[in-house]
Structure formats: structure tokens, C-alpha cells
Subunit: 235 residues, 2 copies
Amino acid sequence: MPSPQNAPAVNRLLEGLPNGNRRRMLAGCEPVELAFGDVLYTTGGLLKHVYFPTRSFISLVMPIGGAASLEVGLIGNEGMFGVPLALGVDVSPVRAVVQGAGPALRMDAARFSRELRESPALRRQIDRYIFVHLSQLSQTAACTRFHVVEARLARWLLMTQDRAHADGFHITQQFLALMLGVRRVGVTKAASSLQKRRLIHYTRGNITVLDRPGLRAASCVCYRADREAYDQILG
Amino acid sequence: MPSPQNAPAVNRLLEGLPNGNRRRMLAGCEPVELAFGDVLYTTGGLLKHVYFPTRSFISLVMPIGGAASLEVGLIGNEGMFGVPLALGVDVSPVRAVVQGAGPALRMDAARFSRELRESPALRRQIDRYIFVHLSQLSQTAACTRFHVVEARLARWLLMTQDRAHADGFHITQQFLALMLGVRRVGVTKAASSLQKRRLIHYTRGNITVLDRPGLRAASCVCYRADREAYDQILG
DNA sequence: GCGCTTGTGTGCGCTAGCGAGCAGACCGGG
DNA sequence: CCCGGTCTGCTCGCTAGCGCACACAAGCGC
């Protein structure tokens, strides 16, 4: 669903709460502006806040053996960053990097825990989100193993477009390579193939999706699976 | 930790509970005997029970595109099967297959939900386990992407040995191939290399670990990372 | 306008793992 | 004792992706 540029700046996880709970949560959150490349968490540190992106989006990256890394989650206004806090743990195995600049709502860890204890509706909502996250993580693990770079790239672009609420966004191929866990040249090859087929257009980090249905056809089933998991549980 | 063959048949998740809660849980569970190959859950069905293995162990397998599949979790007496139920969802994206025969404790879904609501200590314990599961899943995703078959096989053998509470266990190479998401020949090559180096011995599905430290050296860092994640959070 | 940084496109030799197919070894049942 | 199923080992040709290195082009600061 390529939301229009002027989609309302809300977080769907919070919107799904009953009125009272939602108001309480919104009141407890502080609006912040996230800049591209901001690192919200690095492994080894402590989680101090949860973030509910509204128009920004955040990438969860698993570092492994020095240079290599792999994206294991992408969080837009359909989700939240800080799942471990909901599980009573204040660390995380993954880095959190702002992938798309924009506003988000943030709540400090202690308050979030309190709200969670006091609001069964919130707890329920977050639990379901954790389930979806778990499903998508399993899907990503298998996808990364079995699908070719081009299909995975197409999937990534679709996921990002959903979260960017726009047809275009900024991301260099070098960065994409880190997300997909491949070499930059691999991305170049896949991207130029998609461009030749008029599915996308890009120059120096500015990517535009031209043909969304075509891109879906070029992507692996995993994109669809992710969407379905979300819609089924939180839709 | 290669537990001795005569390790007590308990589930560590339940053992970690305060006395009252533990007794309540044990009373609510029914002892069952799991047979090798039993399928406790197939995608599309409903989760009717949670299982706490005591001497058995269960493999979580993500099916993808027909024939291919990939193991995304291995559950022994350190964990439980049925995490989605703890998150208020009664389906799962993965198949659950009994990998090691033996006893387990099982509780029906409704009762488990009730216990979870009524016992904060249980909730806390399960939440932490979910976090560990999440961490290990992220680790597995990256491991599967970056590490060679031989190292991944070594890791798998170590993880299985931990859960089998014995040096030897039964698993054919064909089955291993499905777990690791590679061809059978790939497993044959890796396994015979490990055997040549006197780290393991196997014939017709009976695998014995001969040199555990050597196997650790041959495995990727992921084995260690998993252990540490568990010990830190639930140890 | 010049030079530097950043992003993209190549090419080359190499390896891990793929698909398919075959052969022998082992084992249990009739 | 043989037959058939199961498990393991190996081959062949092939491809996706790797590491490395180099070329060029577009934008930016000065």
C-alpha cells in the first residue's frame, strides 16, 4: 500500500488502541525528529526509550564478524523499536539505524514498562506486534538463505516504500549492500536490472519506484507473506 | 555443557520459577512422551498446547517455496514450544518437529494463558525466554547468510548435543540438509571433513561427538553467542 | 574552474554450493 | 540368503556471488 505523501503522521500500533489507552500513550510520548543515519542503539548499550515512528523508519541491523552485517527488521509507522523492553530486558542484539528521516514518538523505558503493566490493551497490542516481528524475522532468515539478490532487493524496496509513505527515498547502493548482506556490486547488478525493466529509477542514492505491481512480481513471495502476517494479526 | 546422560528430567524454564509458581505449573502440566519425527504443529493449524521438553527436543522449521526449508529454532529443556500462545496468538509461521525422542511436559493453551495472566513470575520468565529466542533467531539469520556449511554443521551438532544430554544422537544427513537449508551432498562433505579430523563419528544416522572443544573451534562464533545470550538473561 | 569525495559500472579469476544422477554399503524382512 | 529400502559417497557441469581493482561521472567546496 503506497500511502500518499500526505498520509497522517500517526503510528498504527498506537492508533489501534482503545481511545483511553491511546490518549494516555500519546500523552506519555515525546515527539522527536529522527535524522537519516542516526543510531538509536548500538549493541552493548542500554535501551533508554521505545520509539513509535510516525513518518520515519528504522532499520534493525545484526552485526556479524566485523565488516559484514544483515538487516533483520524494518520498522515504520506500523511498528515500534524497543521490543526487548516489552520483554523485560534492556539490551538488544541488534543495532538500530534511522533509515528514513522524519518524526517519531518516543517514551522512556520506565514509563513504557509502567504503561504496559497497567494497560492490558497495550500489552495485548504489543504482544501481537512481537509475534508479527518474530514471524517476519523467520521469513527473512529463510529468504536470505534461498532467494536471489534481485528478488530480495525488490522486496526491500517495496517494504521501504511502504514505510516511506512516498514513491521515492534516499539510499545508496553501498548501504543497501550492508542491509542485504551482499557486495555492493551485487546490488549494482540487481538494481540496474530492475532499472532496465523500468520498475525503478535511481541516481546517486535517490531511488524511485516506477512500477509497483512489476516490482511485486519481481520480488519473492516473502513480501506478500510479511504483509499477510501483519494484516492477519494487527489489521 | 554436555550434560550427563542421567541429568534430571526437568525443564529449566520451569525450574527457574519461584516454588509456588513452579508447583502450580507442574501440576497443570501433563507428562507426554514425544517420538522422533512427531509433528507437533504444521502451518495452517491451531496451537493447542505448549510443550516444555525435559529430555526431548523440538526443531522449528520454516518451510519456504515447496521443498526447501530452514531450521529457525531448536528447543530443548532450556525452552518451550508455543511462544505465540504467550503472545496471544494461536498460530505459528513454523512447523514443529520432534528431533529427539523423550519426555516433555505439556499444558493446554487455555490453561497456559490463564497461568500467564495470574502469575507475574511466569510471565516474566516466558518474556525473557521470548527475548532469547528472538536473539537466537537474529543470530541464525546472519549465520545462515555468512558462514560456511561446515561451521554451521558444527554449531548445529553442539546445540543438539546440549539438548540431547548425551554425546550421541540420531539424525540422518538428509534430515540435516533440510535443517541447514543445503543439499545432502553439502552435509556429506562437511560431515566427512569433521570426521576425518576426529571431531565426530557417524554411521547411518548415528552421530557421536568425539571432541567437543575441537568442534567448538570448528564452529562459528554463533554457538557461543547463543549460549551467552541465554546465560545472561535466564542463567 | 579545479580538485575531492561520493556513487555507480566494469572486468577477472575464484569458490561454495546447486541440480541431477549413479554406485556402493549397510541392514532388516521375507 | 537374497531383495529392497536407507544411508552415504562421489562425479559432472553449472551459477550466484565473492574479493579485488580500476574507471568514470556527478556533485560540492573552495
